[in-house]
């Protein structure tokens, strides 16, 4: 199963390398990864998606929490509550005279933007969840996709909750760390 994991980390050099090194040293795979500063400039948010069974993902979570520079980790896929994910993709499609209208119609249906055009190609900017992005890629496939660039998923929980509460200190409270909690394996 694909898991969407959100990680708040110290915004310091080398922290991304630590996360990536842990994944590779422990033989886990990252499918996508996106990193950027949060509203608090000392904290960055890493969103990554990883495929694995429950036990593997539980180990990933524990190993992430073990890293000193990791402040908070949540697996949106298994956590209570709904969450939203978005990804942005730039798609360069081969666009011959006879295909242009069809490509632009497809773009409209998906509320994509055409951000670049040349005699042979159109470049679309699409934002959406994974399903939507995959759907438009499939529809554009027959025209000839020349290149794509994806940002990787970002995610946030729905509603007013936040990953880190200013008043709760480290956010690595014993119960939330997982293993002590009877309900969490």
């Amino acid at each position: 199963m694909k898991n969407t994991i959100s990680i708040l980390v110290e915004n310091r050099p080398g922290v991304l390398a630590r996360i990536a090194a842990m994944f590779s040293a422990r033989n886990y795979n990252i499918d996508s990864l996106s990193v950027a500063e949060t509203i608090d400039p000392t904290i960055s948010r890493i969103t990554c998606t990883a495929v694995g069974n429950d036990l593997e993902i539980e180990q990933v979570m524990k190993q992430l929490r073990k890293l000193i520079d990791v402040i908070r980790v949540v697996n949106f896929t298994t956590a209570n509550g709904d969450f939203i994910t978005r990804e942005m993709v730039l798609i360069k499609v081969s666009a011959k005279e006879r295909n242009r209208a069809e490509i632009m119609r497809t773009s409209d249906i998906f509320r994509a933007k055409i951000v670049d055009a040349s005699r042979e190609s159109l470049t679309l900017e699409v934002t959406g969840d994974e399903k939507k992005v995959n759907a438009i890629l499939e529809l554009l496939q027959p025209f000839g996709i020349l290149e794509i660039a994806r940002t990787g998923q970002v995610a946030l929980s729905r509603g007013g909750r936040r990953l880190i509460d200013k008043h709760s200190g480290s956010g690595k409270s014993p119960v939330l760390r997982g293993s002590n909690h009877p309900g969490v394996r």
């Binding site: 980390v9 000193i68 402040i71 480290s170 119960v175 009877p182 394996r185």
Partner: protein, 579 residues
């Protein structure tokens, strides 16, 4: 505020942390730190002969004392030479602060002379590591490094120090308060989980305690003894757990796992409740996991949440410090009075029967020295009071089996990584910490030769370490596997060409002794113990001797080779246990 150099700030940090000794080796990138060292005569520096020995010595010091070891080396090759020791400490959860020199910040990344990306190299084998880029951060980083190394699940922390950070100046702030928001180890166990564990113990008919290095790290040997005696639960320990429970106690089953006792492995196979404390279900312990404690419910106490349900899924996880959790468990159990006296009788009888059926044994000889005999005599002559370091291999397993450790922090052995060359420097670290105690390095001739240069260190600091080489002229453990599982096709395991260890010891200024007959063993040991300085004893032992029992690789611990297998029948016979 007065400004100070980075070097001064680092040493003031050492003093604040109570550092007594540094194991190190100088070089260009740390030359200013070595200059500052002269101003601090209260901090002893031990000059080793190879950086790998510096970190193993710091490791031995930490294992023997419980205090974090400190290691100081230069950049580039100095730093890369400590990597094996960093991983050794990481695998066995040993607190060490490793300071490595680094080229100046403006040179980093330029392939400068003696530059190595030690931060990148040690990222996945340290508990944490730092590259300090500003002198102003030094005081805080030193404080944090010691804190991280020695709290929670202990481990090595590398602090990389560019030359200009050491020589730069900053005003010293006393970082009495610091916050690491991403680091808050859980120490006190969840009360609900502890209650659940107690309920399991009350319910169990055949419980076994399986204790590891966590008992030693948390100093909870007394609490463990209290739990075992109160609820009358037999105890088995891992290699790193040796000394955490008295080896001569009637409830002690011996070590478990690949070279564990029949009693320990049989008890694990038959138990209905496994209480794992500060142990991590290592593959050398579990064998094939499907056959490990197949009918047991499992309680797992560990300070590291990632150790829990990593290899084996457990029923009652308790994250926290073993001392704290065991104390509370014992308290809760006491409320139930002594309900175990009668209830445990059949189980303890069964377990004692296992021990009686197949005790640890070897065939004594009048003509050739049996390695186990040497270990037994070391045990007898030191009254079990010595600190014993080992290298890795057959002698290590025989030491674990036959020394009967009774006190914590008396065995220094690389368990997780299995680092040959560890023993002699680790013995140096322990002897520096305890000049008055007897410290042995029980070694094979292979491992001993991997850091033999440290004899010079032992001689220089007048460290009366006794090295007992159990010399079988081969890489015995690999040879044993080749004998048993590769049809005696011995490939590159002969060490027939070797130095004359007696003369080698003498060349270093130590004393060399040799014994090649059983009758010479005790006189040789007695003589060594009467000598004030370092002694190397070369015991020429039976080259055919193997370590048994043995769980063949890939098998479960319910299948063991108990003694030298019949030459015709090489197959491993699964043992049947009375049901």
């Amino acid at each position: 505020m007065k400004r100070r150099t980075g070097a001064k700030i680092i040493f003031e940090g050492f003093l604040r942390e109570g550092v007594e000794v540094i194991f190190g080796y100088p070089g260009g990138a740390v030359i200013h730190l070595y200059d500052e060292l002269i101003n601090h005569p209260q901090i002893k520096h031990v000059l080793v002969r190879h950086e790998q020995a510096a970190i193993h010595a710091a490791d031995g010091y930490a294992r023997a004392t419980g205090k974090p070891g400190v290691c100081l080396v230069t950049s580039g090759p100095g730093a890369t030479n400590v990597v094996t020791g960093v991983v050794t400490a990481f695998m066995d959860s040993i607190p060490i602060v490793v300071l490595t020199g680094q080229v100046a910040t403006h040179q980093i990344g330029n392939d400068a002379f003696q530059e190595a990306d030690i931060l990148g190299i040690t990222r996945t084998c340290t508990k944490h590591n730092y590259l300090v880029k500003n002198t102003g951060d030094l005081a805080r980083v030193i404080r944090e490094a010691f804190h991280i190394a020695s709290t929670g699940r202990p481990g090595p922390v590398v602090v990389d120090l560019p030359k200009d950070v050491i020589t730069g100046e900053a005003s010293l702030e006393n970082p009495e308060r610091f916050e690491i928001r991403g680091y808050a180890p859980v120490t006190s166990g969840h009360p609900g989980q502890i209650k659940l564990a107690v309920r399991e113990i009350l319910k169990a008919k055949k419980p076994v305690i399986y204790a590891g290095g966590g008992i030693i790290h948390s100093g909870s040997q007394e609490e463990l003894l209290a739990l075992a005696e109160l609820a009358r639960i037999p105890v088995t320990v891992t290699l790193l757990g040796l000394g955490g429970f008295p080896g001569d106690h009637p409830l002690f089953l011996g070590m478990l796992g690949m070279h564990g006792t029949y009693a320990a492995n049989a008890a694990i196979t038959q138990c209905d409740l496994l209480i794992a404390i500060g142990s991590r279900f290592d593959d050398r312990v579990t064998g094939k996991v499907e056959s490990f404690a197949p009918s047991a419910r499992i309680i797992h106490v560990d300070i590291d949440p990632s150790s829990i349900s990593k290899n084996v899924t457990v029923n009652v996880p308790i994250v926290g410090d073993a001392k704290n959790i065991l104390t509370r468990m014992v308290k809760l159990l006491k409320e139930h009075g002594d309900v175990w006296q009668a209830a445990r009788k059949p189980w303890l009888k069964e377990v004692r029967q296992y021990a009686a059926e197949h005790p640890l044994c070897y065939e004594p000889s009048k003509d050739v020295i049996k390695p186990q005999y040497v270990i037994e005599q070391i045990r007898r002559l030191t009254g079990g009071q010595a600190i014993i370091a080992t290298e890795v291999g057959q002698h290590q397993m025989w030491t674990a089996q036959f020394y009967q450790f009774t006190q914590p922090r008396t065995i220094l052995s690389s368990g997780g990584l299995g680092t040959m060359g560890y023993g002699l420097p680790a013995a140096i670290g322990a002897q520096v910490a305890f000049p008055g105690r007897i410290v042995f390095d029980i070694a094979g001739e292979g491992g001993f030769q991997m850091n033999v240069q440290e004899l010079a260190t032992a001689v220089q600091y007048r460290l009366p370490i006794k090295v007992a080489i159990l010399n079988n002229h081969s890489l015995g453990m690999v040879r044993q596997w080749q004998e048993l599982f590769f049809d005696k096709r011995y490939s590159e395991t002969s060490l027939d060409v070797q130095p004359d260890f007696v003369r080698l010891a003498e060349a270093y200024g130590a004393v060399g002794l040799r014994a090649d007959h059983p009758r010479d063993v005790v006189p040789c040991l007695e003589k060594a113990l009467s000598i004030q300085g370092p002694v190397v004893m070369d015991f020429i032992v039976d080259p055919e001797e193997n370590v048994f029992p043995m769980v063949p690789p890939g098998h479960g611990i319910d299948q063991m080779i108990l003694a030298k297998p019949d030459k015709k029948a090489k197959k491993v016979v699964p043992l049947t246990f009375p049901s």
